[in-house]
Subunit: 366 residues, 4 copies
Amino acid sequence: MAGSTYGNIFKITTWGESHGKALGVVVDGCPAGIDLCEEDIQIFLNRRKPGQSKYTTQRNEDDKVEILSGIFEGKTTGTPISMMVRNKDHHSADYSQIASYYRPGHADYTFDEKYGFRDYRGGGRSSGRETIGRVAAGAIASKILEQLGICITTYSRAIGTVEIDYSNFNKEEIENNPMYMPDSNAAIKAGELLKEKMAEMDSVGGVIECLVDGMPIGIGEPVFDKLDANLSKAIMSIGAIKGIEIGDGFAVSSSTGSTDNDGFQMKDGKIAKTTNHAGGIMGGMSDGSQIILRAAVKPTPSIARTQKTVNKSGEDIEINIKGRHDPIIVPRAVVVVESMVAITLVDMLFNAMTSRIDKIVDFWKK
Amino acid sequence: MAGSTYGNIFKITTWGESHGKALGVVVDGCPAGIDLCEEDIQIFLNRRKPGQSKYTTQRNEDDKVEILSGIFEGKTTGTPISMMVRNKDHHSADYSQIASYYRPGHADYTFDEKYGFRDYRGGGRSSGRETIGRVAAGAIASKILEQLGICITTYSRAIGTVEIDYSNFNKEEIENNPMYMPDSNAAIKAGELLKEKMAEMDSVGGVIECLVDGMPIGIGEPVFDKLDANLSKAIMSIGAIKGIEIGDGFAVSSSTGSTDNDGFQMKDGKIAKTTNHAGGIMGGMSDGSQIILRAAVKPTPSIARTQKTVNKSGEDIEINIKGRHDPIIVPRAVVVVESMVAITLVDMLFNAMTSRIDKIVDFWKK
Amino acid sequence: MAGSTYGNIFKITTWGESHGKALGVVVDGCPAGIDLCEEDIQIFLNRRKPGQSKYTTQRNEDDKVEILSGIFEGKTTGTPISMMVRNKDHHSADYSQIASYYRPGHADYTFDEKYGFRDYRGGGRSSGRETIGRVAAGAIASKILEQLGICITTYSRAIGTVEIDYSNFNKEEIENNPMYMPDSNAAIKAGELLKEKMAEMDSVGGVIECLVDGMPIGIGEPVFDKLDANLSKAIMSIGAIKGIEIGDGFAVSSSTGSTDNDGFQMKDGKIAKTTNHAGGIMGGMSDGSQIILRAAVKPTPSIARTQKTVNKSGEDIEINIKGRHDPIIVPRAVVVVESMVAITLVDMLFNAMTSRIDKIVDFWKK
Amino acid sequence: MAGSTYGNIFKITTWGESHGKALGVVVDGCPAGIDLCEEDIQIFLNRRKPGQSKYTTQRNEDDKVEILSGIFEGKTTGTPISMMVRNKDHHSADYSQIASYYRPGHADYTFDEKYGFRDYRGGGRSSGRETIGRVAAGAIASKILEQLGICITTYSRAIGTVEIDYSNFNKEEIENNPMYMPDSNAAIKAGELLKEKMAEMDSVGGVIECLVDGMPIGIGEPVFDKLDANLSKAIMSIGAIKGIEIGDGFAVSSSTGSTDNDGFQMKDGKIAKTTNHAGGIMGGMSDGSQIILRAAVKPTPSIARTQKTVNKSGEDIEINIKGRHDPIIVPRAVVVVESMVAITLVDMLFNAMTSRIDKIVDFWKK
């Protein structure tokens, strides 16, 4: 199968390898009439760019996006939007050794088994650079959500063992620290943890949290295409993610019905929930309260320490992976999670426009 | 959108409401030549049947499956297999009151908002009975996996706060206790917990764990259709699931790269992993080791206690939901999780048959 | 692959064999709030029922539809509508001989080669009875089109060599003659032709024509999902269809640009086309004028004459196919063509609701 | 909806406008291990290039393809292959006038109605240049078919009223004349016809025929995804195509069962058909004989003659479309038809690999 296309109505197709000529995405199903320029995309791409702090890769990658189609006189035309980022910094020679063995924590082995060989340069298709296409598409999805009054807030909830303190929660803070944490104290502690782990030639994981405000009620389909099901696929499809929670998540397993059930009450003449353990999704459909989800991110698999593995000749060996190693994936993955959420929400919103005949008749009869 | 169809090559479409005439599923893309009879399906359906123990619903539901198409002389023909279970036990009168208000923890409110009204009898389409179609399809998928030497083991890992002790793990035990736990001691304790909660007119959640042995390497597509991504969607699409973990899951967030990375070593002349923190999936593809996943299940939302909610006239009210209430969903959901895993694995295995031109040429040239 | 599911948003999945227990369809993605009862479906099914005239099969088939889900209090609920027709009249004994050889003009040989064996009773899945599911779904699609002011007219344009004369065209006449021709003179001549062919133990083909009035402009997607492309697939997927034309169809090959181009002119303050050679579709999108399409139907392959073929033992043999043989497929296929057109139009109309951001914002902000 | 993606397992997504920055395609689901370089693609693209003869556009377009991803060390890697052709020759100024009115025979009006405005430069997305992506993908599909021993022959069967004479049929001749006709006499006559029509400032249509040899038996799915149904969609999705025939096509309507039925006979110990009226497809599946299909192509809509239309201000006007006008589309569309056929065949071949459990077990157990 293919597997590089995501979405039903708002559909994205990504392509490209870490050290190929370029990476990109085709966004098909984007409505006509949206103001869009390369700068809109670039802002999103810059949020995933390395070299932003001393804790992330120091490579000088420009990741300059070029929009190749689908825009005319500054507006989307309704036809596919093709976007591309040229790869600049590839010295394939660096990767000659990696070709001969399987790095622990990477997809080298599974790629070789599936396809018979692999583009071993920088991880090829399974590199983190694959997310460039997702983020470029996410920038467009976000512009659509903005027009519908829907707002996504995404941040690092935990960097290794350092969690944010919600009593310090400050949304404005997120973009102000290299950890993308909404709590400046936690960000400082996280920085110290990373320094420590770098000294140990090791890496840490963390948790990304995402909140969605302003969703209309009833988005998501009741059975297989539940909103939470599609969000889970979207986020779990990002490399390095190993767990997903909606609302209270795993905590529900030790909760009770009397606690976990969100009651309803009238508030300012409208129906509102008294609590939000469900994280804004009931029966697979948005319920009008804040959508809450969390993703567990594993530690960066590329570490400087000596590791045991095997080579392609079937010998047990010890390796030292040279090069620059980020001690943490989390901060750079924040915008990737946000992008996949945005893309999913747009697709599900579009899907939800045909749930009632009265609204359909109204749409076409006008 | 539709949303009642799942899978790309091995495709299932479920239909039916809790108190409609019947529920069922169409399985399309099932290969020809598989021995299949109604008894094969019934065995699976019986695993989700209520009335199996004092802790689950005492209704006398037969849930007798009828295969309507796709079988000839005891074998699948390659054409769609339609299966149906007639609903027997519907006294719609019981549900007249439910029509007027929104039950906490249920999809009543979101259904009304999305569609303008709802089939309120027994939860309608969002009832647990919707899973009948999934389980019937899962029985077929399991037969296919069996022929490929792939084995799925699914069980309750936790019932409320009672977790299994892996030093007592006994696979044979799973079907021997009403908790579907592989640890008989834990099952006894869980039984006591449920008794207690029933007395309190309350309910509990839990965790289901699923292990897959015998998977070929390289199943799953590297980007959006990662094996873990599709499994996450499949399981999160089951009502009451609020979290998913693969391998170490959320624990990776506080782990380090040096611990989390699974090394490789030669073992009996073959490449093997030294550990399995990744839960059998690397870069979205099966890596030959055991696949491990966990799902968090929320407490049964229907509880006998008085709860606060609003009615359709916009008044704050207190309700007492009458009828039989299971204090736990987990044991009955075990086979549903297993079914969704089986369906996903078959679909991904079929998808993976076209990854290499040499194998394709070999297939067609024979 | 599957192959028994059609449509993207308005999605149908058919199942069942000629002599299995039942045949049916699941319609998923039907909006909530449409008045629907079994009689609505039955009216459509009766149009494809045999035994309506001396020229079509005299079997006493009831084809009584049962709606199993998706309706509550007389209205669609937005959940999948499952519909079933039980098979009544199966004496498998009749078909024992057919099992041993390959009937000319039938799918016996290709089925055996693809699947290794086949359900040979009455053609199995490739029987004309497979269209029951399509027509039941078409009845629902037609109800949706009706609410949008879209009207489909379908009829036999030619029965063998007998074509209708457009100067005699009378829409009311279509349902009045067993040929479903809008020209009573042609219908009489066609009847004579059929009598003659029956005497010769032979059969004839024909042409079905379909007109759609009232389509909004801009339905259809500009590249692969052109309205004409999807209509072509829909109709060519009906057994026995061997050709499709839109508008002037094959006649364009010998036309010139100056003739074939449809000009525009102002008419009552609106833009209108001066001619309609294009058959209502420009660049894959509806252009506001009448959609015109034609389908070529082959002669009934089951004929009473002695025919040459081979048996499964690889011997050249002569066969006489016993039983009732329709000398013509065309009249019974009229409603099948109409159904596939209706299903396609609804799906494309739903797809077209997200082409412009201003309309999307308007939809959600209300 | 999207609508720029085609195929289920072998999936292509095209993008780009006539006068945008570039046009291209992403081919996803291409197996690993195929030798592929830009020259393989270029050969196909050159077959659709204008400026090849005095009868086709004299623009100096290079249409030089660049492969951006999915190839490593000269072989496909199994990841998406992104291909791009930069647009060179755009003087948007030429098109300023076209912006104000609707050209007869073009999609200007339907685009404006659907999207609110359009990229009017050179037809934008509905330009013939949109087929660049299809042809680049077709080159890859053709390489796959070649390895499976499947051969496609495509040519002009008719240019306007000039048809080929099958007694002169010479496959080698096709590439030797600018008409892509397998009959050199007909090609000369067609050339004279075109000269005449150019003098009249007019254009002509024609018929493209496509033959497929070497198909395995049983390719195509029996209901909606019939091989002929998918081929019809594929070809009808090409702009300017108005009719499709399989085998005898529309001629079946006046044939009889005794003539139209293809008998079977033993030949060299194998089952063979005595005739091939069905065009190699029975019950939607390939039957081992030659697949035959034809497509009717309309005359080029851009003609130099004065034409009547309306402008965006709602005034009746007369227009003269300036610029270079091909008097015929057919020869350049030959490779486009061949490409869409190749893409469809590969997708259906891949789909057909899961029809039998014994073959699946064999595949995975090896």
